[in-house]
Amino acid sequence: MAQSHVRKRAAKVAATHLTMILLSIVFLIPLFWLVTTAIKPLPETVAQPPVWWPKHPQWDNFTKAFVYDSDRLGYIPFLYYTRNTLLLCWLNVMGTVLSNALAAYAFARLKWRGREIFFLVTLATMMVPFPVLMVPLYGIFREIGWVGTLRPLWVPAFFGSAFNIFLLRQFFRTIPFELSEAATIDGAGEWQIFASLIVPLAKPALGVVALFTFLGTWTDFLGPLIYLIQQKTFTLSLGLQFYQSQNGGSEWNLLMAATTIVVLPVVVLFFFTQRLLIQGITLTGLKG
């Protein structure tokens, strides 16, 4: 009896592994195709029967893709895309963490008239789809001459957003109020309590917000597409789409090399922040 139970359990484990290995292969095929194509010489990309692994990996495909068109343009476009993307990520992370921490502090730990109603209104804004706001927002930024600059893509971050406020408020509420009380008795003002008590204690939650913001900015496409005009100001996502629309369908190896360049930092970041990221998603899903 006990032995058959053990055997049954072993069979179940083996079946689970088999299923997951097969699924893993399916999930990995596109990435395999991405990386192998990126290092193939051009003829091998269209060879029949297909070449599964390049005989002579062409590592300089990456440099070729990176400096593409720079002779004609007089600058390296992908260098500019990378710089712009990093700049936007940095500004958005700073702005988002700061503005949302302040708002979340007001909602979580201060009493003021209208707080409950404004919090409900804040939550309701999450329902509004971006395409509804797109045209008037464009109108505002055009009016003040910001279209064609990076500003529409980072200035709003300094004013907060509902999702992040919600996330941080949940976390701030779990910090014992006795700590604030004690600090008040010691003569600390709200700003001091916020900056030297709450923020240090809320580092994991702020880290989650920073990480989500970084990823969101890195991958955003519609925003840059609407506001950016000159190639020099493009982000990596927009730059990759531009590159594809100009040169797609011929040099697949270079296109895949460029795609790898855009994808790689996200993959690296993932491996360093996996824990925090998964905790963060869990937080949003379960408490949502």
């Binding site: 195709w33 297909p50 201060l110 789809p129 509804v132 706001l133 496409f221 895949m256 994808v263 996200v266």
Partner: protein
């Protein structure tokens, strides 16, 4: 100044950036777009009130209906498929076997990649002559379809590659599965419940709030699908089979400078989202169990 007064003042101070952001970047654009929806407007000239004109035009606009149909088609097939796949993956990841961290990474990573990169990659993965999918099918002796060129297949292609990105939803399910008390399963097993019955009687009710949450997020997301079709199928080619709602809205706003019309489309989308949300909340009332949390 009393302590309560000070707290009141500080509350307003702390919330003031967000208050300004809300007024400037949400409330004003929302009201403005409602107004523009009833106007003939492009940023180049002042809006002219035209009453319901945009909406009547919309009603008779064949492309509008095509884009709505394409988007609904995507949502109707993608949402259930994504629910089943992400939940199945989460349940596999929740099994007590070795190597889960590796499997989790493999299933999750694709959802993290920039959508533009995913779209460009799949142009090559699904390439009719030299893509990996048709190459593999050829190995098995099959002639693969025109994933990107045959209007009968293109929407299915978008659904397939979107399923590649279910990782985020999967993680949310995984977290909720881990919250289900082990004792419930043990009790069910003692009562002789089979795996399928345990799923129906324990797992699904316990995680039902999360299913509702993911479904609502899925609906809102599906209606706004833009990047993948925009990058892979410029202009909704072939034969408008991939012209999605948000892409048509974008084209109206920024290609044809019919911004009033685009706002009308935006509000129609907003209303659809509100109605669908209300319906799913109503439907779920009987089936969602909030006792767990």
């Amino acid at each position: 100044m009393t302590r309560a007064e000070r707290e009141e003042r500080d509350g307003y101070l702390f919330v003031s950036p967000w208050m300004a952001g809300f007024l400037l970047f949400i409330l004003y654009p929302l009201l403005a777009s409602l107004y523009y929806a009833f106007c003939d407007y492009s940023v180049l000239r002042r809006p002219i009130w035209t009453g319901l004109d945009n909406f009547t035009t919309l009603f008779h606009d064949k492309v509008f209906w095509t884009s709505l149909y394409n988007t609904a088609y995507f949502a109707v097939f993608f949402l259930p498929a994504s629910l089943v796949l992400s939940l199945a993956l989460a349940m596999l990841l929740n099994a007590k076997v070795r190597g889960q961290a590796i499997y989790r990474t493999i299933f999750y990573l694709p959802s993290l990649l920039p959508l533009v990169a995913t779209a460009v990659l799949f142009l090559w993965v699904f390439d009719g002559d030299n893509g990996v999918v048709n190459n593999l099918l050829k190995l098995g002796g099959f002639q693969g379809p025109g994933w990107l060129s045959d209007p009968a297949w293109t929407k299915f292609t978008i659904i397939l590659l979107s399923l590649w990105g279910v990782g985020n939803t999967m993680i949310i399910y995984l977290a909720s599965l881990q919250e289900v008390p082990e004792s419930l399963y043990e009790a069910a097993e003692l009562d002789g419940a089979r795996a399928w019955e345990r799923l129906k009687a324990v797992t699904l009710p316990m995680i039902s709030p999360v299913i509702l949450f993911n479904t609502l997020m899925g609906i809102i997301g599906a209606l706004q699908v833009f990047t993948v079709p925009f990058v892979m199928f410029p202009g909704g080619q072939p034969a408008d089979s991939t012209y999605f709602y948000t892409a048509y809205l974008y084209d109206n706003a920024f290609k044809y400078h019919n911004m009033g019309y685009a706002c009308a489309m935006g509000w129609v989308m907003f209303l659809i989202i509100l109605v669908l949300t209300l319906i799913s909340r109503q439907l779920s009332e009987k089936h969602v169990y909030y006792g767990g949390g």
